[in-house]
Symmetry: C2
Subunit: 132 residues, 2 copies
């Protein structure tokens, strides 16, 4: 299968990564996601990587790219379900996933996105979630 499905959940898009991201699949995912964000006017993108046990610099870069592209289209990206070993590897590889927000699971990720949207709508309130 050459496509990773993107699920629409209200104002958010959900992507579950279950397979190794090789070149073409990653590029397809990037372009599909950007088009979906544009088409659905999504306010947030959730990337579930709970099935990912091995992470390399390529995947780190893809996630960073997606976050950057979504940000330009006014959608925040949250990576959810990261396994502890993956977090260790990312830091050891020197890939701290800058600009990407993280949450323990999809529910917490959605909560974070909802809070961020609310904060954007009320810019007077102090933003204490983003710390980058």
């Amino acid at each position: 299968m050459e496509k990773i499905p993107i699920l629409r959940m209200g104002p958010f898009l959900l992507v579950t990564i279950q397979v190794d991201l090789y070149d073409r699949l990653a590029l397809n995912l990037e372009s599909d996601l950007v088009q979906m964000v544009n088409k659905t006017e999504a306010k947030g993108v959730l990337i579930d990587i709970s099935a990912v046990s091995i992470v390399d610099s390529f995947m780190g870069r893809i996630i960073g790219n997606i976050a950057g592209m979504s940000k330009i289209l006014d959608a925040e990206t949250v990576v959810v379900g990261m396994q502890p070993a993956v977090a260790i590897t990312l830091i050891e590889l020197g890939l701290p996933l800058k600009g990407v927000h993280t949450a323990l699971d999809v529910e917490k990720g959605m909560e974070l996105l909802r809070k961020k949207i609310d904060l954007e709508e009320e810019p007077t309130e102090e933003d204490d979630i983003i710390a980058d």
Copy 2:
């Protein structure tokens, strides 16, 4: 990767099938799902098969099994995102997915599940969604 992640979304569980279900993976998914339904007291299971372009009798049976097991644990199963070609194949194979509800996408599937839960809570109302 040997596990298909199961995502919790409020009272529902969401599974996205992106890879070919071979023996062990399918059995793992069945047991993981049943345990998750039990642990989270989920009222519904959504199986997204939008990435599945080829379906065979094995996958048909697995989906039927999951629906049966979930039903015993008081959770409804909805299959979402089926490609038209897959629907054609299922009927031509003689696998009409009995006991499994379907919806066009995750959002419509959730709506269907919510309606079904409401209907269960108000058993006086006539159930016009299930037609089997």
